[in-house]
Symmetry: C2
Subunit: 283 residues, 2 copies
């Protein structure tokens, strides 16, 4: 079974996928988040994995938009502890570094560390592992990359500094995507449901939208808003709540929600994810 | 009076500021959003202007985080219709363009247009006007920039295509920042208040937080969530609601809100902004 992820070997999504799916699955890198959706939709991959939020930098809004554009289901999640490493070619010293390459999220998560290197220009690239490959392939001796330790191992590069993230509580939540909804236990303490909706234009609309859950003691876990294209300053809401969409209280809440929404789609019910630490390996 | 904005001459923030403040004020460009906050806090500028959300790409989360970190007040807002132009050196034809430079927001807002130029690599830079300056200064004949018409005029460059944004409903909302809260009419139909808070960890917390407004018929205009650093998957909420914080219903709602929040700060009450179109000028 092939699992699509965006980026290259050594990307955090690969580390998360390796732990979620285990060694029996093969991991297929694709260039962009969009390509993960396309690979699963067209059957080139059985499932996909995308980051959806980070505990320091917040939601990855592009992936919220892609969830809405496509029609894949969320069938699982996993939380990965993210540690960043400053990586360079062998022989390069910290004071040689005039440019630091990484994904914008990697640069944002190491902002305080980078302030201690004011001489170094921050250069955004498409993914963290690509940053390492770039400084290796071009043999850059005045540059470094921020990436996972796995990327340093894969490309046989030197680690200049480890665990350079601003805050050790740095965790990325990944979603698992499939064409079909996950088969679920009828009732489980550990389920979670994600839904997206837009509200009718009426006073107190959002309050009414949330009340359908509160009135039934269904816990809200997360709310995220995104703009509706073509309707300036109207919003779509993405909500995660406790329980599966097939459970009685949750199903009633969803029916109630549909009374007051213009549009409402359940993105998936799935087992709540575990927090894992990356496992690095020589390969 | 000096007004700080991030970017360079010809930036959208400058076009918005010119219309908000009028010709009597001088506009002072600074490199980054952060520098706008610093310039106002240290008194180097009387006021600042920052983009806070775009109708296509959503909130500019970095600026939400900066509002919280500093202690400036929001004293006004303005909505600017954003039109993007594909700009190149004179003599460059569309099929010559192998790279397109712009701010990531500019690239994101012209995604569909860029799909029609698959040969062109998208290169993110720090601001749209800088993209134009770069291709001019380096005399790049295989590159173009996405920026405002004003930037094309300022740098005397050629326009290859106009109004290339994906959706004509492309509007950016800018906030005006000052050290002191705005003096407000005691009661006005056109006021708006922005507040940020984090909720006590209790069931239905967000529902209770919104109920303080709904119970008093105070309209919610926007909700945005951001992660709390160091507390993975706890959130700060930024809320805009109708009315000024000194009005009776709104003041009562805020007192009620403080009963159920760990932290609560009014970022400002201000007159609701107007929608303006940019005015381009030769200078």
């Amino acid at each position: 079974m092939k699992i699509a992820f965006a980026g290259e070997r050594g990307a955090f999504a690969e580390l998360a996928a390796a732990q979620y799916f285990g060694p029996a699955h093969s991991l297929a890198p694709v260039p962009e988040f969009e390509d993960v959706f396309v690979a699963v939709e067209r059957g080139r991959a059985a499932q996909g994995i995308i980051p959806i939020e980070n505990s320091l930098t917040g939601s990855i809004h592009q992936n919220y938009d892609l969830l809405l554009e496509g029609d894949l289901s969320i069938t699982g999640e996993i939380f990965l502890r993210v540690s960043h490493y400053l990586i360079a070619n062998h022989g390069v010293k910290p004071h040689n570094v005039m440019r630091v390459y990484s994904h914008p999220q990697g640069l944002a998560q190491c902002k305080k560390f980078l302030r201690k290197m004011p001489q170094a220009e921050r250069v955004p690239v498409s993914n963290t592992a690509a940053a390492v490959r770039k400084i290796k392939d071009c043999r850059l001796l005045d540059a470094a990359a921020i990436a996972s330790l796995q990327a340093a191992i894969d490309y046989d590069m030197n680690v200049l500094a480890k665990n350079i993230e601003d805050n050790k509580a740095n965790i990325t939540r990944f979603l698992i995507l499939s064409k079909k909804a996950a088969p679920l236990p009828r009732r489980s303490a550990g389920l979670k449901t994600s839904v997206v909706f837009s509200l009718k234009n009426m006073p107190g609309a959002l309050f009414k939208g949330l009340s359908v859950f509160a009135l039934r003691d269904v816990d809200l876990l997360k709310i995220e808003s995104r703009p509706v294209h073509g309707k300036p300053f109207e919003y779509l809401f993405y909500l995660d709540f406790a329980g599966g969409s097939g459970e009685e209280r949750q199903a009633n809440a969803l029916n109630h929600l549909r009374e007051i929404t213009v549009f409402c789609r359940v993105l998936g019910s799935y087992e709540r994810g575990k927090l894992v630490h990356p496992e690095y390996k020589k390969r």
